[in-house]
Assembly symmetry: C2
């Protein structure tokens, strides 16, 4: 399914009046409202102070001499015996202050340039699952064919702004060079920006170079107009590994944005309390962000947060919980305190695309959006706490994102919209179906969902009583049929092909 290549076709965008699956037109989503603040300024200060104590008294352990050198040059206390770096507040804050509050990200379609920061929101495809699932074919190992299908879906649906780091791992491909195949798929099957794998220098550089090729510009030119981004995790508590540090440094050197996201499950990688988890996460994130600015002052960054709780009976991670939602919101307050764009997520922990998947995702989506998230990562397709990329979940999530996007569209209060004359024109107890005011607007007055079914029970039953999950299956199948590959210059495609072939030869059995 969906492997046919159609180049040069019209864009796959379907408007309200177009054929194909009904969806919202692509637009940069803006949150016009104030983010919710769960912590008062005094409490945010307490978090900050605790983070500063963690950095200055306890420190962060690193696995890289280069990172120690960089921090030592900046005046940090570096213990070469334990590999622990301790940073005073002044060093951290001086570095972090150099990061921009906003940056752009441009894939090979400049019309889809993203601005990340301020009140802008971008939604990213799920990233990282080793497994894939759909209701037709069941659960299976990640593989390139499914990888490509998800890229097609991300390209087809306007709700998706960016591709994450490997929507699903193509497990049949060699681990040391599969990033080349996934970058190639990202760049040929979609025209979106994407996340590079930040494990080591080679994978980051390949992403930077391949994006530059597809855009027909130099790596040097992409320095002032970034094209790819990465997420650097921290091995919480307080451990920063070598490969991730190299990925971070490579991206920062090239002016490509870096997100630093500690993966902090309360009770496991942090203390069990939310305040402690946030203080530790904040310390770890600021450490990584300071490193980017020591490498390349002014390099674009995002403050990343991924704090949730675990099931204390089993240790299993939980997402879309009340604690996760609060963490998403307070982390946003911290990001804004430092004037940084904020990356968060709207995850869930369900094993199936069921009620739990929907209410947990709803909860975490509100937390992410109202928490002031600028990049909502894993926003479509995440299942099983991130262990599976799900086709039906992708459709559910696009519907949730579209609902949220429409919620964020400001209400108009013009005289015409206030409708006094329309109200006057209908008698008491009458109806407005045929009113001119209605006729003028009914086609575009309301958001039209793709997944919801609002027919009455009798008609719904007569039509087969399809539940939403069944409709979701039909929708991703149909989207793959409607998908049209975005045109790419033959020369760029050849150059990408050649790059991948050359790099695979270079890498051989080694790490890239």
């Amino acid at each position: 399914m969906g492997r046919k290549r159609r180049t040069g076709g019209r864009n796959a965008k379907s408007g309200r009046s177009g054929s194909g699956i009904i969806q919202l037109a692509r637009r940069q989503v803006i949150n016009p409202y104030q983010p919710i603040e769960l912590a008062n300024p005094d409490q945010i200060q307490k978090l900050h102070d605790t983070s500063m104590r963690i950095l200055s008294e306890l420190g962060i352990r690193v696995m890289s001499d280069r990172v120690m050198d960089i921090f030592e040059a900046a005046g940090a206390s570096v213990d070469r015996g334990t590999s622990i770096i301790r940073l005073d507040e002044s060093i951290v804050m001086e570095a972090v202050t150099k990061a921009p509050g906003k940056f752009t990200l441009t894939g090979r379609n400049p019309n889809k340039r993203l601005t990340i920061g301020g009140s802008n929101i971008c939604f990213g495809l799920v990233a990282g699952p080793p497994n894939v699932h759909d209701r037709v074919n069941g659960r299976r190992d990640g593989n390139l064919a499914d990888y490509e299908n998800f890229i097609r879906l991300a390209h087809h649906f306007n709700a998706i702004d960016i591709i994450g780091n490997q929507v699903v791992s193509p497990m049949e491909l060699p681990a040391n060079n599969r990033h080349l195949d996934t970058y190639f798929a990202n760049l040929t099957l979609s025209d979106l920006s994407f996340h590079c794998t930040g494990i080591g220098r080679g994978r980051a550089l390949d992403g930077i170079r391949m994006m530059a090729i597809s855009r027909g510009i130099t790596v040097e030119a992409m320095r002032s107009d970034p094209g790819v981004i990465t997420i650097i995790s921290v091995n919480s508590p307080r451990l920063f590994d070598d490969a991730m540090a190299e990925g971070l440094i490579t991206m920062a050197e090239h002016g490509q944005p870096v997100t630093v996201t500690p993966f902090t499950l309360m009770g496991a990688m942090t203390p069990v309390t939310l305040a402690a988890a946030l203080a530790q996460q904040n310390a770890e994130a600021l450490f990584g962000l300071a490193l980017t600015q020591l490498v390349n002052p002014g390099a674009p960054v995002m403050y990343g947060a991924f704090t949730s709780n675990v099931d204390m009976r089993s240790g299993a991670p939980a997402f879309g919980t009340p604690e996760n939602t609060k963490a998403n919101m307070i982390a946003g307050q911290l990001a804004r305190r430092y004037g940084l764009p904020y990356r968060t997520s709207n995850a869930n922990a369900s094993n199936a695309v069921d009620l739990q998947a929907a209410y947990e995702t709803g909860m975490s989506t509100w937390g992410a959006v109202l928490g002031g998230g600028n990049m909502i990562y894993h926003a479509a397709g995440w299942l099983e706490g991130g262990l599976t990329a799900s086709y039906e979940k992708f459709i559910l999530d696009v519907e949730i994102i579209q609902n949220m996007t429409e919620f964020l569209r400001p209400v108009s209060f013009t005289e015409d919209e206030l409708g006094f004359e329309a109200i006057k024109s209908v008698q008491t107890g009458g109806h407005f179906f045929g009113a001119q005011h209605t006729m003028d607007r009914y086609e575009t007055a309301f958001y039209r969902p793709m997944l919801s079914d609002w027919t009455n029970y009798e008609n719904w039953e007569a039509a087969g009583a399809q539940e939403a999950i069944e409709r979701a299956t039909l929708l991703w199948q149909r989207a793959l049929e409607e998908y049209q590959e975005p045109p790419l210059d033959d020369s760029a495609r050849e150059e990408l092909d050649a790059y991948v072939a050359k790099r695979k030869e270079e890498i051989g059995d080694a790490e890239p």
Copy 2:
């Protein structure tokens, strides 16, 4: 199932450490955060001004001479030919200003006294569906046995604060006296306050009197300590019927709270634009609320809102939409402008307890809570746009309410919670499972859901791969088994029995 009567047993509350279904302890939910404001003060003023024009220039049509008399005495312009009442702003605002900003509601258990207004939130059982559904027995007409089961569930789950007006219509009982049987069930199977049917004087009076009997106090005494509440609908646009007016007047005369809720579907009962719908809804609500204060100045009231959109292709109502969510929030701003407690809802339009039901309900719940709702009506069990009361949906909704309740619990930032020493105690890259700080708190640190399953995929699959909908069925069945009837004085029960018998004889074939 569940029909056994156990009087005098312990309360059915199950704490974290109790046996039975895990649930949160009962508490008055408080929203500690500022409600979201989608409209600025200038826009709220425009809505107000438009509403005042609707009331003064277009007016509201009433079917009752008594209502015309009351408004005429207050100085309104009453056109006896068309039955249209026109109200100047001064009359409306002078009346509405007399209503209290907060009131209490006390069923027969004074420990469950509700305070309605301010930042308090109450969640009510679904009300009004003609049909009932569960996955074991399918969809069927409403009946008393199911009615009673839902009252048991509402009593069993601490998340439910109040019983709405007829959770499901017992269709096998005579329409003119079935309210007596439902009030009797409310008062014997639960100890919660409930909504009277506000259609005419008799039904309202019966509710007031039966609640007074069950509390062992006089109707006169209940005037200063209200026990029941009602919701008065408006036949939008701008029509106020006779029976509803009589219900409203009866409740207000007796000092029992009245909610006035225009049922306004945009494009059908109001213009298709949100601003116009809100202006019209506001005018209609204020008209009814003014009437309560003209009847009994200072009588407790709630500002009710129920504005959503319709599917413009079929005319079918939609809920949990972006427009519904915005309406919920802006109506809350209007209620607060007038200093009134606010009733809203968290409805959905799905025909099945499926993904759509979950994401629509999630959306409308956030709108209701962040919109500053004081009474969230239909909060548990609503399906099919209100045409069916669903057992599984009830369980889903209790889970959603509990998640929201926990989200609203403020985060603590004490030194101990900030956990510096705990962070210090764990080495870099280690874990906190065994830390003393964790051990001291792990049992109560996180909200423990009843419906979510967080086991890993392999264990979940080995245990039968139960989806949330299947777990929901088991949960309502188990709750009905665990349910314990709240003790009631034999004398009060006998008096209630006698009251019902006497009234059925009095009513005969007539309207009550």
